[in-house]
């Protein structure tokens, strides 16, 4: 409706629009960055949770020793006595990214510590990810949708949960890499430029470096290509977008040590090769079709199809045989659990034991993507209105990611960008329609718009009102509703005819989508309300739900904020008051933190690459004291660390995780049987608990002298009194317990001197020792100064 005076003003308007969207993008980046700083403001600038500590440690190593040492790093401080080849088993993208940021900053003589860089890597990359979302959505549906999608992604709770400041995990950069790869793919698809195709392969390489989720890309893009081919949307652009990606991408991917030959050997990648063959066949067919006459072509098709079927069958048979010959049928456990949600819990307890590998619940959808869940269908419809290659890619993306998020909570993260793009499209289209209908019908607005550009204000304001008058006249003249309808129908028909004449698709929509004024104003208000609700929810999620670093816990009581800093207390104690080469055994959850914060060798950690080793620790924890001591002693363990929340009510402690230890231990060592620890199928630690349970090491280490705190031994997590209250440890010795008893560290007592051959004497000796210990305690009591 704007009537610019001349060409310069129009270009000025474009420039203004560009500058405006540039500033909006900058603001979106600032928003994405700053909404993730709640954790720093509310807590402190510290690395969060478990995996980030490992990444932090690797980054420290990288910055200290350099890239070559990093590739060759054999870490002997974990998985004792096996060790772990870090360089070859880690996705290096995040580490290298943070390492190069650190290097850049320090070469400019800005003294930032590695920790600071690591803490702020995730927020920086979420800002970049929202810009990538803008680019992708812009390719699909234009600038408006792009800006909306970017703004939505900047604060989507699901992504915030993995990228708050301090959450230094692979996902932080991987989501950016994912979106950016998709953007470049769509860009290549739209332009057919080989330049973007190459960039796309590089972006894919970065994604492979960053996260195991790259298999999602290498399966989704072939699916889209296949869809395009099947629906007859094959074009040379599609070929350019896909073929270089497969070749270059696979070559680059196999450069990453952790992927290596998996890029061609495992079945996650087979789909891409299959589609690669298909696209070549199709390209060939199109080429031949151009050469031959239609008749000849039909003959040739019949010939080729019959031969091709035979070849295909043979190839498929070979493939199936190859896949079937490998033990897990060529699929890794995590991927298999994607296809069959019940797979993990059936076969791999170690995967099932991680809470983020569980299927999500409905509330978690509302929590993580909030109103986007309602906007997504609208977005899908909007994508179909003119269905392009790009929009059908986005539709495919959302559909597959919805499925995957339904399998694993963790993959909600992949759904989030898709949902943001869809909602961005939906919102922007809705606003587009509503504001346009307001503009069409509001004389003042359109008049103002014109008067802003036109030079004769009086005339311009008058003409549209005349138009409106004339438009409105027929309906007002007719009093009966039916006639109204008819006339409006007629009008519509007329308009349709017009449109056909003009033959512009967008114009059809415009005409059809003009809504009544009040409806559209109410619609706008409701959409703004919806958006406001979303923003409020996101800020709440960022500030309250996802900002806790989980190594520091806080609780609000009547006398103010109470801080539980027990984990770091224990790690600091370990790091300062034990020998450098002492081995610390704990459940694998705390492995990364122990190596990173306490700098002590651990037996198992969160990498969980060796199930037997974890099962050994699980067995030790679920064995009686003496057997456990023997296991630990054989592993050269000096300290055992257990997490106990019973005193302050910290629910995710080792007692609650204990059944997994039993299960994983029992999976390898059959003498550990889960039913022995359950009373009538119930897991309990009160007086009804089985004696196996009450005598296992975990129970004893957790509840040692617990009864003396309140005289009853009331466990605040399980809300019950513990079953066995007074007991002594014979093979372990308490060396440290933190302020709130959340971490308890025990030392293995050295083996007793054995007197050979004389059992009786040894008995008497043991009696004597108890006697002396009694004496000692008596001596304590008699101490006059105490």
């Amino acid at each position: 409706m704007e009537v610019p005076e001349n060409g310069t003003s129009a270009s000025l308007r474009y420039a203004f629009g560009n500058v405006l969207s540039f500033f909006i993008l900058i603001l979106i980046g600032v928003l994405a960055f700053s909404i993730r700083l709640f954790s720093v403001i509310k807590y402190e600038s510290v690395i969060h949770e478990f995996d980030p500590y490992f990444n932090y440690r690797v980054t420290q190593y990288l910055t200290k020793k350099g890239i070559y040492e990093f590739w060759n790093w054999f870490d002997d401080r974990t998985w004792y006595p096996l060790g772990r080849v870090i360089g070859g088993t880690v996705y290096p993208g995040l580490t290298l990214t943070a390492g190069s940021i650190w290097w850049l900053v320090n070469s400019l003589n800005i003294p930032l510590s590695v920790e600071t860089v690591c803490v702020f890597t995730a927020p920086i990359f979420s800002a970049i990810a929202s810009w990538a979302t803008y680019l992708l959505t812009k390719e699909v549906k234009g600038t408006g949708a792009g800006l909306t999608a970017a703004a939505i992604l900047a604060m989507v709770p699901s992504y915030i949960s993995r990228s708050v400041a301090g959450s230094y995990d692979n996902e932080a950069v991987a989501i950016f890499a994912l979106i950016f790869t998709f953007y470049l793919y769509v860009k290549t698809l739209n332009t057919g430029s080989l330049f973007y195709a190459t960039l796309n392969a590089l972006a894919y390489f970065y994604m492979v470096c960053s996260w195991g989720g790259y298999t999602f890309i290498i399966n989704l893009i072939p699916m889209h290509v296949l869809l395009c081919i099947v629906t007859g949307r094959y074009s040379p652009r599609l070929y350019i977008a896909y073929a270089p990606l497969v070749i270059l991408g696979t070559l680059l991917a196999s450069l990453v040590p952790v992927v290596g030959f998996n890029a061609v050997m495992t079945s996650e990648h087979f789909a891409s090769f299959l589609v690669f063959i298909i696209i070549h066949v199709v390209a060939f067919v199109y080429y031949v079709k151009g050469l031959l006459s239609p008749k000849m072509f039909k003959v040739a098709v019949a010939l080729v199809v019959s031969v091709g079927m035979v070849v295909c069958c043979a190839v498929v048979a070979v493939l199936v045989a190859l896949v079937a010959s490998s033990p897990t049928k060529g699929w890794s456990g995590r991927s298999l659990s994607l296809l069959d949600p019940t797979y993990a819990s059936k076969y791999i307890p170690i995967i099932a034991s991680v809470s983020e590998h569980q299927p999500p619940t409905w509330p978690s959808y509302f929590m993580d993507i909030n109103v986007l869940a309602f906007l997504v269908p609208a977005g899908i419809i909007a994508c179909f209105l003119p269905l392009s290659d790009a929009s059908c890619f986005v539709v495919l993306y959302i559909v597959t990611s919805v499925y995957f998020s339904g399998v694993m909570v963790r993959l909600m993260l992949v759904l989030a960008p898709a949902a943001c793009i869809m909602s961005g499209i939906a919102l922007s289209q809705a606003f587009d329609v509503l504001t346009r209908s307001v503009k069409f019908q509001l004389p003042g607005v359109s008049g103002n718009l014109q008067s802003g550009a036109g030079d004769t204000t009086s005339s311009t304001t008058v003409t549209p009102s005349d138009v409106v008058k004339t438009e409105k006249q027929p309906p007002t003249d007719n009093s009966e509703d039916t006639i109204k309808e008819r006339t409006s129908k007629k009008k519509k028909k007329k308009e349709k005819e017009h449109v056909e004449k003009v033959s512009l698709k967008s114009q059809i929509q415009k005409r059809l989508l003009v809504l009544p004024l009040d409806t559209s104003i109410i619609g706008i208000l409701l959409l703004v309300l919806l958006g406001a609700f979303y923003v409020v929810h996101c800020v709440w999620a960022a500030a309250e739900a996802y900002s806790a670093p989980s190594i520091v816990l806080t609780s609000h009581s009547h006398d103010g904020l109470h801080v539980f800093d027990d984990f770091r207390e224990a790690y600091a104690w370990l790091s300062h008051n034990t020998e450098v080469d002492d081995k610390v055994a704990s459940w694998w959850d705390y492995g990364y933190q122990t190596t990173a914060m306490a700098n002590r060798t651990v037996i198992v950690d969160n990498n969980t690459w060796n199930n037997t080793h974890i099962a050994t620790v699980g067995t030790a924890m679920s064995s009686p004291e003496k057997a456990a001591w023997e296991i630990f002693n054989s592993l050269d363990v000096k300290y055992v660390l257990v997490v106990f929340g019973g005193l302050v009510g910290y629910p995710s402690d080792d007692i609650n995780k204990f059944l997994w230890m039993v299960r994983i231990g029992g999976g390898v060592f059959p003498h550990i049987k889960e039913p022995d620890y359950l009373r009538d199928g119930q897991y309990r630690i009160d007086s009804q608990a089985t004696s196996t349970m009450l005598n296992c090491l975990m129970y004893k280490l957790a509840y040692y002298r617990f009864v003396e705190t309140d005289g009853k031994g009331f466990d605040r997590v399980r809300r019950t009194e513990i079953g066995k209250k007074h007991f002594k440890l014979t093979h372990f010795e308490e060396v440290f317990t933190t302020h709130h008893w959340m971490v308890r560290i025990y030392k293995l007592k050295p083996p007793k001197n054995r007197i050979r051959g004389k059992a009786k004497k040894s008995k008497s000796v043991s009696k004597g020792s108890t006697a002396t210990s009694l004496k000692r305690s008596g001596g304590r009591k008699r101490n006059p100064w105490h």
Binding site: A10, G454, V467, H498, N577, F736, W785
Partner: protein
């Protein structure tokens, strides 16, 4: 230990014959303060010259086992009974090695303010501080035990001179004493043990005493403390202190039970310490307390106009032998510590550790001066090891000069001011902001240049030529659109004149408006001609051409209809026909016009989107 004492006595007996000078000590009062881990001995000496020569130096002897732990020594004249330390200046002293003296003793020669002639006397105080002189015994204790330490010294004042009257008072932290050496004239009252007075003892008299007593005061020893003082002339002095702390008392054995510690903390953990207090300068701001794994939340800060007190609590209670490390940092206002004298500026700040009763085994003070400082010199009240290094910090190029001062065995008595003098040009302050500004300026300039420069490699490639042509077409379309728009404006003017006519009935002005409109429309049509010709011929515009053509046709039609409407209305006005009549006559025209107008708008928008 006994063996060593015997050796001492032997040596002393053998060598005690030569008398150094004719000085005698008329009165010696010693007070040994054992209330903390640091041993502080104050001796009040009254020297008398019994000989004839004028004497200006007095010797002060320490046995080897004490001299190796000696960390601080000060002698000052005692002005009468009341101790007026503040008014007096300390007496200079130095280590001497007089001939014929036992080698196991270290002698310090104190210079008197003026020489003593015969019969004159002079009273002065000697204040010495020892660290690591309290030996825990037993060396390992459990959590429940309290810490018992041994201290040894001589009951008699060890001096190369004859001592007429002397006494010794030992102050202990508590009344609980396991044992102490009993000589004649020994009294134990509460937390004090008194030896003496003893009279007329020959030179080098020595009588070892050992006191075995309870001392649960914190034995906090910082094995290393690095203090970094960074001066910023923007108004801040940033002090960062890295501590490596250890409990230097009896080793803890047999684990640590939190239960015992929590239920009966005073009894089951008496040898441990939980918190330390750092006395920071007033107006200290942004204080932090952390270690390498993050902030330590257990600290409290108070402040008033004279001091800031920071109470820090390590992550865990410190038992014997336990270690910890942490960092304290704070900012101080520049004007409180930086002064100018002549052309030079100088920093005047305390040297030692701000935490009470901490012994620092190795203190490193680094003063980071701003980049571009020159002529650096340091003035310290005691001997320290000096060196210089360079530190690179925020956007430095040449680096900042750093003065490194090292000193071992630092006690709170060392917490005195020292000065670092340097020259610094205030203009250098602006360098870094200017660097940043020019950096961003260059960045923007490069962006602008990049946006405007044509960096195509091949100027003859078809895609490049196509792009150029496309640009031309776009410019032409742009012009075309603007002319069409101007046409529309003219149309609007005509409409407006009609409205005026209906209001005023002024036919003449309406006609004039029509004439003007006719003229301008003709002009515009002239303008359009070359553009249309170009668009028709251009191969890039083939797709657009039908639209353009359509637009031109629509616009023509609209013009005609409008003119028709105009003339009809004007005619009817001239004929003075009724308003309704006119409306009826032009209704069909009006509808067509509206439809055309919309079509034109749509076409324009379509072109707009290109």
């Amino acid at each position: 230990m006994g063996f060593r004492f015997n050796l001492f006595l032997f040596l002393i007996a053998m060598l005690s014959t030569p008398v150094l000078s004719d000085l005698i000590l008329a009165k010696v009062d010693r007070r040994i303060d054992l209330t903390s881990q640091i041993v502080r001995i104050t001796s009040v000496l009254k020297v008398e010259n019994a000989g004839t020569d004028v004497v200006s130096e007095v010797l002060f002897a320490l046995p080897e086992y004490q001299s190796k732990n000696l960390v601080f020594m000060q002698a000052f004249p005692n002005g009468g009974k009341g101790k007026t330390k503040a008014s007096t200046t300390s007496l200079p002293f130095q280590v001497v090695n007089p001939e014929g003296m036992p080698p196991a003793l270290t002698f310090y020669s104190v210079s008197l303010p003026k020489g003593l002639s015969k019969g004159e006397s002079f009273t002065f105080d000697v204040f010495v501080v020892f660290t690591h002189s309290l030996r825990p015994f037993p060396e390992e204790i459990t959590q429940a035990d309290s810490q018992i330490v041994l201290f040894q010294d001589s009951a008699y004042y060890l001096s190369p001179y004859e001592v007429k009257v002397q006494s010794l008072t030992v102050t202990l932290p508590s009344a609980r004493v396991e044992s102490y050496t009993k000589l004649h004239n020994t009294k134990h009252v509460d937390s004090e043990i008194k030896y003496g007075p003893y009279e007329k003892l020959p030179p080098f008299s020595y009588s070892p005493i050992v006191i075995h007593f309870e001392n649960n005061r914190p034995f906090a020893v910082a094995q290393q403390l690095v203090r970094e003082i960074e001066i910023s002339h923007w108004g801040n002095i940033q002090v960062t202190e890295h501590y490596n702390l250890v409990h230097g008392g009896a080793q803890n054995k047999g684990g640590f039970s939190r239960l015992d510690y929590q239920v009966r903390a005073h009894v089951r953990g008496s040898s441990s310490f939980r918190h330390l207090t750092a006395k920071l300068p007033p107006r200290a701001r942004s204080v932090y307390y952390r270690d390498e794994i993050g902030n330590i939340s257990t600290s409290h800060l108070w402040g008033d106009s004279r001091k800031t007190e920071l109470e820090i609590e390590p992550r865990y209670p410190m038992f014997g032998g336990w270690r910890t490390s942490f960092t304290i940092g704070y900012g101080l206002p520049l004007k409180d510590f930086l002064f100018e004298s002549g052309k030079k500026r100088f920093l005047n700040i305390t040297f030692g550790c701000p935490i009470d009763d901490v012994v620092v085994n190795n203190l490193i003070v680094k003063v980071v001066l701003p980049e571009g400082s020159k002529d650096i010199s340091v003035a310290t009240p005691f001997v320290v090891k000096q060196s210089q290094e360079v530190k690179y910090s925020h956007l430095d190029i040449a680096g900042r000069p750093v003065v490194v001062l090292e000193k071992t065995n630092v006690v709170p008595e060392h917490n005195v001011h020292f000065q670092v003098y340097y020259k610094f040009n205030t203009l250098s302050l602006l360098r870094e902001p200017l660097m940043l500004i020019s950096g961003f300026f260059l960045l923007f300039i490069t962006c602008i240049v990049y946006m405007h420069a044509d960096i195509t490699i091949s100027k003859s490639s078809p895609s490049y030529l196509a792009k150029l042509q496309w640009d031309e077409v776009q410019a032409a379309i742009q012009q075309f659109r603007s002319s069409i728009n101007r046409c529309l404006v003219v149309h609007d003017k005509l409409e407006a004149s009609l409205r005026d006519l209906s209001r005023t009935g002024d036919v003449q002005s309406c006609k004039a408006a029509r004439k003007a409109a006719d003229g301008s429309l003709k002009e515009l049509a002239k303008e359009l001609k070359p553009l249309l010709a170009f668009l028709q011929s251009s191969p890039q515009a083939t797709q657009l051409w039908p639209k353009v053509e359509e637009l031109v046709a629509k616009e023509r039609e609209m013009q005609e209809k409008l003119m028709l409407k105009h003339s009809t209305v004007v005619d009817s006005y001239e004929k003075k026909s009724g308003v309704r009549d006119i409306e009826n006559r032009i209704a069909s025209l009006q509808q067509k016009l509206v439809a055309l107008r919309q079509d034109v708008d749509e076409l324009l928008e379509f072109l707009d989107e290109i």
